[in-house]
């Protein structure tokens, strides 16, 4: 098979893997060998779906012995199959890298023969790149559930980041939809990697030239919308993974129907993109805004509100915590203000040392006053307390109601899609749902 066709098949089979980030590793060029890594990661292109392309993301092979129902590469799916030889893939990576198309390689694979054999093939590619080609660019490798821990260890010494896909948010769903992959097969390597990363850190303190194990840590991803778990369950699971296995990232992937199967959503179900977006926002609150999962969603609220981002939703339900005095509040409280992010909060802390800040100064610093104005006091300004409906309207996320060319955006909230299916025009549906959302939110204030 010619290389072009292989690349097409094996990129197509890899495209549902979410992570394409090249962040977390900082490795300077050494003047002789090819490549370097930048801690913040670098995006080299953006595909038509708006996602960043940073790495050459391919499967080594899409021939699979498993039959996971949600997966495009399941054995029962009639799909063209292919496999790279390790040399082919290593050469392609180098030639793409030299042309600055990519930051490095993202290597995953379907399960050929058995997990160990698959891992050995993948390791062969990484050994070629790191050994023979002396490649110093970024490598993200996916470990195969059920593989020998020694192979995981070996892979970790070659890759910058390892990941184990948790696939689905609960054990029941996993049993139902991916009977070949057990919970232990997934969590065991995750635990092993977390332990190895920690141990490696201690070794590096003792002697600087100790071989590095997955310096960019590990990440995971799960499919959202193929199984019945609530957002609360998912956010708590993510929090647990960050705390327990010190994951660098938890990725969510809106389920895109790839199979006709009574256990799964129908083929014409649109991917729950808005829900995925809200989950990422909640994830940011966990990682950068010092929120706990319990604060984002408590016992009485199983799911994130589709119409406002979770931080604004929290603020609406905690009006007693506002106004915050931006000239006095500590960093953690500044972060709670809608319209203030980690960057502007840090700038506020710096800037107020040389004089009290007023609204103009906040605007110049980058605070979004459209939202923040209802939650702050500063020099010469104190927000009025009784602007319920106005506040809610300012915080609503326009993306949830977006209508373009009289058609709903694929991003619009599910209730809008329902109304449109029943015959309401898109514009009218957007108005109706928006008014209803405002009423509901005002009531809860």
């Amino acid at each position: 098979m010619e290389l072009m066709r292989k690349l097409e098949i094996l990129a197509d089979s890899a495209k549902y893997d979410v992570a394409c980030t090249s962040s977390g590793a900082d490795r300077k060029g050494n003047g002789t060998d090819l490549g370097s890594c930048s801690a913040s990661g670098i995006c080299h292109a953006f595909s038509a779906d708006g996602r960043c392309i940073s790495l050459l993301k391919v499967l080594l092979s899409n021939v699979c012995i498993y039959d996971c129902s949600y997966c495009i590469n399941r054995k029962s799916n009639d799909l063209p199959r292919a496999a790279f030889t390790p040399r082919e893939l290593a050469d392609l990576t180098i030639e793409f890298y030299r042309r600055n198309y990519i930051e490095g390689l993202f290597l995953s694979s379907a399960v050929l023969r058995d997990p160990d054999y698959t891992m050995e093939q993948m390791i062969r590619v990484l050994e070629l790149l790191r050994g023979e080609y002396r490649f110093r660019g970024y490598i993200h490798a996916k470990t195969i559930p059920g593989a020998d821990p020694l192979l995981v260890q070996k892979m970790g010494l070659l890759a910058d980041r390892l990941s184990v896909n948790i696939e689905l948010p609960s054990e029941q769903s996993l049993k139902l939809l991916a009977p070949d992959k057990g919970k232990t097969a997934i969590l065991r390597p995750m635990k092993q990697i977390a332990g190895a990363v920690l141990q490696n850190k201690q070794e590096l303190v003792q002697y600087r030239h100790a071989p590095r194990f997955a310096p960019a840590g590990q990440s995971t991803q799960m499919i959202v919308g193929a199984s019945p778990e609530t957002d609360r369950h998912i956010v708590q699971l993510a929090e647990g993974l960050y705390q327990k296995y010190s994951l660098k990232r938890v990725f969510f992937s809106a389920y895109i129907p790839v199979a006709q199967d009574s256990r799964l959503p129908a083929l014409d179900t649109p991917p729950p993109l808005l829900r995925e977006h809200r989950l990422y926002q909640a994830d940011w609150l966990l990682r950068f805004y010092r929120f706990s999962a319990q604060e984002i969603l408590d016992e009485d609220t199983p799911n994130l509100n589709p119409y406002v981002d979770p931080k604004c939703n929290w603020a609406i339900h905690h009006m007693e915590r506002f106004p915050v005095d931006v000239n006095k509040a500590d960093y953690a409280d500044l972060l709670r203000i809608p319209g203030v992010g980690p960057k502007s909060a840090k700038r506020i802390v710096t800037a107020r040392k040389s004089g009290a800040l007023d609204l103009d100064a906040l605007k110049r610093i980058g605070v979004v006053l459209k939202r923040a104005q209802y939650f702050i006091q500063c020099k010469g300004y104190h927000c009025t307390g009784n602007a319920g409906e106005q506040v809610v309207r300012a915080l609503l996320d326009p993306a949830a109601f977006s209508v373009g060319n009289e058609q709903l955006s694929f991003f619009a909230a599910p209730d809008l899609h329902r109304l449109v299916q029943q015959g309401t025009t898109a514009i009218k549906a957007a108005q109706e749902v928006q008014e209803e959302a405002v009423r509901c939110l005002v009531k809860t204030m």
């Binding site: 370097s36 038509a48 600055n100 198309y101 800037a351 110049r364």
Partner: protein, 251 residues
């Protein structure tokens, strides 16, 4: 202010020249309405004053900046000078005048009307530098790598370190079409020089093959059910597309 307030300074476009403008403004207690590069000046109703570039005066100002307001102010001024934001000279002058008043705290006055525009301008430069670390495309011309970029700001000096350390053993050239300058890297030595025109050679069959492979990969990796062209344009503005093999056909 004792001096005139309705004068436009004309300078030679160099950093030294601009520092001399600062010298004059301070010495004459004068605030010009704008500072223009002499060569690009258009007729105006305002009085103009040609500022002579005196290396010694420039040096006095250059030395005073880190001394009075710290290294961070020096770096900020240098960065903003490399941008193409409107009235960058005036922004720098205002910032420095404020700095002479307030000393080292000037870099922390992030909400001040004379500081915030400097921070924004610097951000624009560093953002574009970051984007081009990714969006720049090399072609292999018989072993030497060549790339053309068309940035808004003069990012070449900031890209140099990244590419020279990453591609240590390679020989490459990056031509900045906007600023007519080129970065050349060979045998561990980097050089930036003026270059008015550069026409890339025709790509070899091998080179064309890799471009085609890359394009195929690019088109395959998108998930059609998630197509979001607005999002793509936000992250990768159209002005970069002409220089990216995978995007050129879409223009």
């Amino acid at each position: 202010m004792l001096g005139k307030n309705d004068v436009i300074y004309l300078y030679d476009g160099s950093m030294e020249g601009l520092l001399c403008c600062v010298f004059t403004a301070v010495a004459e207690k004068e605030m010009p309405v704008d500072i223009w590069v002499e060569e690009e000046a258009s007729p105006t109703l305002f009085d103009t004053k040609a500022i002579y570039t005196d290396p010694q005066r420039a040096k006095r100002v250059a030395v005073s900046i880190p001394k009075k307001m710290g290294e961070c102010a020096k770096e900020l001024v240098e960065h903003v000078f490399f941008t193409s934001v409107e009235q960058k000279e005036l922004k720098i002058l205002r910032f420095l005048l404020l700095g002479y008043q307030h000393g080292t705290s000037v870099c922390k006055m992030l909400g001040h009307p004379d500081v915030a525009p400097m921070i924004d301008a610097e951000k624009a430069l560093l953002n574009e530098t970051h984007l081009l670390k990714g969006f720049l495309r090399f072609s292999d011309y018989g072993g030497t790598l060549g790339a053309v970029i068309g940035p808004k700001h003069y990012v070449l000096p900031f890209l140099a370190h990244h590419f020279c350390t990453r591609f240590g053993k390679e020989t490459f050239m990056i031509w900045d079409k906007t600023h007519k300058a080129a970065l050349y890297w060979k045998d561990g030595k980097a050089e930036i020089f003026d270059m008015q025109q550069f026409t890339p050679p025709n790509p070899s069959a091998g080179e064309q093959q890799y471009r085609a492979l890359w394009k195929r990969f690019y088109n395959t990796i998108a998930i059609s059910e998630r197509e979001n062209l607005n999002c793509r344009r936000t992250h990768c503005p159209k002005r970069y597309w002409a220089y990216m093999h995978e995007m050129q056909d879409l223009l």
